[in-house]
Symmetry: D2
Subunit: 338 residues, 4 copies
Amino acid sequence: MIIVMSPEATEQQIEAVVKKIQEYGCDANISRGVERTLIGAIGDERRINQETIDAMQGVEQSMHIVKPYKIVTREWHKENTVIDISGVPLGGNTVQVIAGPCSVETQPQMDAAAHYVKAAGCRLMRGGAFKPRTSPYAFQGKGVEGLEMFRRAADAEGLPIVTELMDVRMLETFMEWNVDVIQIGTRNMQNFDLLKEVGRVNKPVILKRGMSATISEWLMAAEYIAAGGNHNIIFCERGIRTFETAYRNVLDVTAIPVLKRETHLPVIVDPSHAGGKAWMVPALARAAVAAGADGLLVEMHPVPCDAWCDADQALSPEELQQLMRELAGVAQVIGRDI
Amino acid sequence: MIIVMSPEATEQQIEAVVKKIQEYGCDANISRGVERTLIGAIGDERRINQETIDAMQGVEQSMHIVKPYKIVTREWHKENTVIDISGVPLGGNTVQVIAGPCSVETQPQMDAAAHYVKAAGCRLMRGGAFKPRTSPYAFQGKGVEGLEMFRRAADAEGLPIVTELMDVRMLETFMEWNVDVIQIGTRNMQNFDLLKEVGRVNKPVILKRGMSATISEWLMAAEYIAAGGNHNIIFCERGIRTFETAYRNVLDVTAIPVLKRETHLPVIVDPSHAGGKAWMVPALARAAVAAGADGLLVEMHPVPCDAWCDADQALSPEELQQLMRELAGVAQVIGRDI
Amino acid sequence: MIIVMSPEATEQQIEAVVKKIQEYGCDANISRGVERTLIGAIGDERRINQETIDAMQGVEQSMHIVKPYKIVTREWHKENTVIDISGVPLGGNTVQVIAGPCSVETQPQMDAAAHYVKAAGCRLMRGGAFKPRTSPYAFQGKGVEGLEMFRRAADAEGLPIVTELMDVRMLETFMEWNVDVIQIGTRNMQNFDLLKEVGRVNKPVILKRGMSATISEWLMAAEYIAAGGNHNIIFCERGIRTFETAYRNVLDVTAIPVLKRETHLPVIVDPSHAGGKAWMVPALARAAVAAGADGLLVEMHPVPCDAWCDADQALSPEELQQLMRELAGVAQVIGRDI
Amino acid sequence: MIIVMSPEATEQQIEAVVKKIQEYGCDANISRGVERTLIGAIGDERRINQETIDAMQGVEQSMHIVKPYKIVTREWHKENTVIDISGVPLGGNTVQVIAGPCSVETQPQMDAAAHYVKAAGCRLMRGGAFKPRTSPYAFQGKGVEGLEMFRRAADAEGLPIVTELMDVRMLETFMEWNVDVIQIGTRNMQNFDLLKEVGRVNKPVILKRGMSATISEWLMAAEYIAAGGNHNIIFCERGIRTFETAYRNVLDVTAIPVLKRETHLPVIVDPSHAGGKAWMVPALARAAVAAGADGLLVEMHPVPCDAWCDADQALSPEELQQLMRELAGVAQVIGRDI
């Protein structure tokens, strides 16, 4: 940590900061410049409480040098982590497309969806049994009954399933229904109690980026899960909130190469929620794979216009098939397959 | 709801939309313009699934006319709601300042804090027993032990207490310790399961605005609580996330008059978390009261530089006293007291 | 335009709005709903001053139905516009990569740059003679001398040139040096007097998106140019400003398909300024082409680490060559070439 | 400047950075930590080209310690600068309210406006002769004829005038009409050629904050003017662009105390453009003064609903009078007058 003293800082104030750094078990390196004195804290700076330093007299600002997260960094683990999802590898050379409807509606709908997911060449299936809806008066998902329908439909096609966990009290039920990947939604990225709980189980977790979460906060949220012992974490970029109103969210493709450099964990993209319209999905999906995403989370519904939620953003089975062909071409350009 | 058809929309597509509107139990009013045809849905438009309409062929866009929330609106309840917090009114003519430390640390710290809060003329006390920390390695709060210390210190001064609930599983404990106001933090504004639960209890709830939540989403989150039967909801503006990095958040003062117009519920402001620095608090606090806030949530610590968290944003007891004097002057200008 | 009257609006207020609409030469269609009355203005709604309507008593809100821009819309001109840049087509099936250094430095630097641009297979060259620098103390560009160097270097390789115009008083000089494409920078997107002037000349214009400009404002800025008679406008997405600080800007790939749907004009992308680091450029460039961009604006410097500005974001000649190979592959997937 | 080397940086890379720092005329202080080596550049770090350092091998990141602006900082000039506007002081103990219509329309409108401005107790008048309009088809201002009307109306009441300069070619005309304060609009905050020109004249300049400009960029834009010799600069906060759509902009009150700490120059606020609705103005104006603003820029029109632009945001003469009374009360609380 670097502490910048203000030009008016007295010797006593400088000494007080040095003493405080030493109390935290670090050494201090003093550098007296023309206008300001800098104090470098040498040692494990994660032990230092930055707010306490900032509150000391004569301190102008302080800056962390070491990242506040650890297990999730590529510094800590150089190689890409490949996560085994009930036999399907995510994070390796193969780009995985996880497809399926926004929400579980009926058994026939899920059976048809599973069939089309498989037919398009996807190896993992998504679907929501518990839905985070902005309005309390909107359809809230089929709940446990939905998990059952989903499990049955996916098992028939041999597809591992991905579904969202919103309430910590449902975790046990998710384990009973053997959900293959637990999804933590964008609104819960900093629901720390939920993160701690999924950190204790032995299931891959997809951690969606908060609507306005920085890369650093996102890595930190993953560190919450990792600190509990569960290192099978998949980052999912799903669009961020900006000033633009012409589309729901802005898909942040830059996050893909940046995260791949910063962490050893897989990074996937949800082009469906990002744009919010089905016609935008192919362009965004191709862009994501071109930028290096390890996978995609794509909404597909057997009959999009009949979908109970997000009807305007689901691909039809034919559109998914067409998209898979294009993505195969893009993946090949950068030496990957699909 | 208004549905705008694209210039190329066919008669069949227009008819299909009309039929769909009627299926939702509404009437349709067709208005044929020079370039486009508009279809107005007349009746209870909350029944209409907008995404389904948007997914129909020939539809260019659709717009809700009626607000998606109801119980929280001023249309539904014209008069200001005054919430009784164990004898202290919030939302009436008196501006209430809720002061106290960021986190509960020790019994002596809480006893001293309670003493200073009371001495400054505040009638309500804040303090965190469970802390949402960005890092899993940071101090997470004293937990239940903290609630006990807080209760004891506040009772000695006759102050009702405000504290944050993060985990739905702790709600019963909050009721046992008779927490007077349950605070829902910014990261949990859309933790819908938590909102549903606090909607079922008979305790005032402070609902902090999500870091990048729109006014509409915030009102909708309050509606989740209200829909469960608990109408004692207090909105708390605490700064929003923007591109600016010179300070932690941007305090959105415009939200105060806008919310006061839109809802009958009280609106308070947290100037401490907004700016993130103690020296910014007086200016922001005065601005909030000048703009019409019904109360403030202010961090004060007996010895700020010793605080275990947010050391750089807590006021000292003397600073709080000075602030209370200024706020009394500002309140008077707009015909209120403190 | 749709005008939504408040639930309390009186008959007199409704009549006053109808009268005002008629004064603007439009017809009014009144639709009385259960909770609110809507008034539709039929005719050329661009004549209506929305602010005047919003200021009328009883009006809750009003919404435009017709877009405020015209010449630039695809509604007005269905086919893609292909712009002829001194013999090089932009906006057609071939993706054009415009490469070159951030700023013109010396004749040898420009000669070398032109050579490498050509060698990599690019057909257009970029370079800045007038530089918009955040600091008044930073290098401001070589000015007219730079234009001369640029022209000489590019002519030797037969490359049309693209360079930024900041000051309206320099337009004549740009014409004298026969600049092939005039670039309007992000900070000048709403410098309306500059837009009007370039609208009067017969040269293609690259209009960079303002740092926080909405799609609608961007189209409107282009309409300023088009209204003057110059329809040779190229949109250039270069990253938008958000809350994220891990990289300079967020490249908004969603803007590509959205603009291509909304306008007939070409859309290109500047991956260099978006990310701000050379190592991000290939991923972002591939993503842009995969999402449908008609071209790219890429910084390349003969010796990046010696560049006088933006040294950390320029590709080396070898990196540009490698990138061109990858882009050719991506273009092929969507049926284009490079 | 602090340069943080990556954990893998070699001795050679460290030496290269040290050598480069010395080339810029600074000394280097090397601090070898447990995980990383830091290099501090001691001397005038403004000479160092950060991008060049960042592009060097082994460099992880670099940070400026000294602010990039100088003349405008409070470090450079400790006391508040009070600007003399044709006899009216701005930046001292008296809060100045600059009122007037959005745009100059007719002589009678300006005469009436000047009368009401004076009657309300304001000492400066605003009005736009050249209007930056989003649409090329909207009213663009009365131009030079407007300047003449404005001058005549204001002179009759003895009011100095404030009006916006958009085009550098009109500066001479502004001098001829003896405009008392030149306003640089939000869209031109980084129109560097315009800033340079107004830096050469001897007239106070109001520099409005760019819609998404950081405090640092804003100070830097002011430095452009100051570097030319004109130190009579007034900052004007007018709301920033965020994700919120319920109001036009978010008035950033935090910017007021932050700027007052950072610069010696006056800071004023435009509550009219911030919120965009007349009914929001009083709350925002009171908040601005309560937060320490040195003045306000308020839209007032003799007959708001007849205004040619921004009809929905202008106060009526009576509303302005009422506001002045409230502001006097708020100013008094913090020891100022109006």
